[in-house]
């Protein structure tokens, strides 16, 4: 197999004195959708934030496209082709929907135009002049994903995009991710809902206590159901 697009090696991270990641290893290949599973508090969000460089105290390596991101200033990371959709969505209250949408700078060609995005998300277009945080939770999640699609990044880090959303919206987000995948987007998804993730993911990683326990392809999901129920407590 070719080189992974993203290769995380022995990644450690700390919050103050608290050691949150204890040597995370994972690979994501170009065009793949990989889902990170694990109970609350095991370090899934911290893994994504440490890959981006949002956790300051970290050690190890994060190879993206062959070069190590550790040591790059935070604002250079997106320009390498990595886009981030945070768990709390990060929609800005003092910016209109339009302004939220065009806030992240375009880092490469091949991103969607604002028109394409509005075709995909007609309700964002209707509300384009209202403050970003006036949108419903589902619309805010759509906006958080949409604004990254404009930037032309090669890979998305998505943190629990379906958390707290109604089933209809979850369905729509699933369709959206499937569309993105068809267009060749590489996705690292954090998700509690592995039935949702099973519809789009190629592979899974299971996390516990700040470490990645094991990885397996979607075909082996059935064989792992028991372990998953146990580890995830669902």
């Amino acid at each position: 197999m070719s080189e992974p697009l993203l290769a995380v090696r022995d990644l450690h991270a700390w919050y103050g004195e608290g050691h949150a990641l204890h040597g995370v290893n994972l690979d994501v290949y170009r065009g793949e959708t990989v889902t990170l599973l694990g109970r609350n508090g095991v370090g899934k969000t911290t893994t994504l934030r440490a890959i981006m460089g949002l956790v300051r105290k970290r050690e190890g390596s994060v190879f993206f496209n062959g070069s190590d991101l550790i040591g790059l200033p935070l604002h250079r990371v997106a320009h390498q082709g990595l886009g981030f959709v945070p768990e709390e969505r990060g929609i800005f209250a003092t910016l209109s929907v339009d302004e939220n949408l065009v806030l992240p700078p375009v880092v490469a060609e091949g991103g969607m135009s604002v028109e394409e995005i509005f075709d995909l998300f007609p309700n964002l277009k209707e509300r384009r002049n209202s403050p970003g945080t006036r949108l419903s939770g589902g619309e805010q999640q759509m906006l958080a994903i949409a604004r990254i699609l404009r930037t032309g990044v090669q890979m998305l880090l998505l943190d629990e995009p379906t958390e707290g959303l109604a089933p209809v919206i979850v369905q729509r987000i699933g369709e959206l991710l499937a569309t993105l995948k068809k267009r060749g987007m590489t996705i690292l998804l954090v998700e509690q809902n592995f039935r949702f993730a099973a519809r789009i993911a190629d592979r899974f990683y299971l996390m516990e206590h700040g470490k990645v326990l094991e990885g397996f392809p979607v075909a082996e999901l059935a064989a792992h159901t028991e372990t998953l129920h146990e580890v995830l407590g669902v």
Binding site: L74, H75, V77, A78, P86, G90, L95
Partner: protein, 295 residues
């Protein structure tokens, strides 16, 4: 003579004009303070010193190099802005991760040093800066006599305040600034050079203070103390308007200038106090300030 509430209308309008002039400076200075506080979370105690620096650079340009008022209107904000950016890069940028108290102490110390240097060389007495000939004289408005320079100060400060407000509310750079005020890390993770944005923002705030300084030079005397005399009132303006609120800083600046002017007509003894009385009332009734968002 026309009277209003037993006061000659000329006296009333005259004091309102003085209030409007003072308000123009309050607005420009509190605007810069609000912009800096919003993004950098630093209470810039050096703001008065930067205003004084602006007036002095204008004065020194004129006295030593013969460079007059009009070029100074460009050169002074540039110089003070560049000075501010250098200070931000060299010192303030190292303090962001520490307790906000360090930023406050640093800028307070910097104000003392800048004022101390000018006091050492120029003493405390004021130096006059002549009104530029282009704006000398006055205009009879029929109901009152308006010195042209004072009219110019009001217009210039309005243009500067509205321009800065448009820059922040309507441009792409402004949307970066507003977003980074809410969540600087996320904006930086999107690929925006937030450290540079912080430097430019402090530079902008400093440049606004410098511009206010050169505009003030022909109105007040150019003296090392002119900044510290003004800055206390300006801090009160920022508190009344709501810390970090751009529109609040502008509107409150003009309003308080006018309130001072009116007080001078009706109850002169209280004119120096009125701002602080208003501040106390606002803090009691609306602690986030008139335009502040409740945290």
């Amino acid at each position: 003579m026309t009277m209003i509430f037993g006061i000659p209308i000329q006296a009333l309008l005259g004091q309102l004009l003085v209030g409007l002039i003072n308000g123009s400076f309050y607005a420009m200075l509190s605007l810069g303070l609000a912009v800096i506080f919003g993004l950098l979370r630093i209470i810039n105690f050096a703001h008065g010193a930067l205003y004084m620096l602006g007036a002095f650079i204008g004065y020194l340009l004129l006295v030593h190099l013969g460079i007059g008022y009009l070029p100074a209107l460009i050169l002074v904000p540039l110089a003070v802005g560049v000075f501010g950016m250098a200070v931000e890069r060299a010192a303030l940028s190292r303090l962001y991760r520490l307790d906000p108290l360090y930023g406050l102490l640093f800028t307070f110390g910097m104000a003392l040093v800048i004022e101390g240097v000018f006091r050492f060389y120029y003493g405390v007495s004021g130096n006059p800066y002549a009104v530029p000939s282009l704006l000398a004289g006055g205009t009879n408005l029929g109901f009152m006599f308006l010195p042209n320079y004072r009219g110019w100060v009001v217009v210039a400060s309005l243009v500067v305040c509205i321009g800065t407000w448009l820059l922040i509310e309507k441009t792409r750079l402004g949307s970066y600034l507003r977003a980074a005020t809410e969540n600087p890390e996320l904006v930086q993770a999107f690929g925006v050079n937030v450290p540079l944005l912080l430097t430019l923002t402090y530079g902008l705030g400093a440049a606004l203070a410098g511009l206010a300084g050169i505009l003030a030079a022909p109105v007040y005397q150019v003296s090392p103390l002119m900044g510290s005399d003004l800055i206390i009132v300006v801090f009160a303006v920022v508190v009344i308007g709501g810390m970090g609120s751009i529109l609040g800083a502008i509107v409150t600046g003009y309003m308080l200038g006018l309130a001072e002017g009116l007080t001078k007509v009706f109850y002169p003894e209280a004119s120096n106090l009125v701002v602080f009385v208003i501040m106390a009332i606002v803090l009691l009734l609306r602690p986030a300030g008139l335009f502040g968002r409740d945290a």
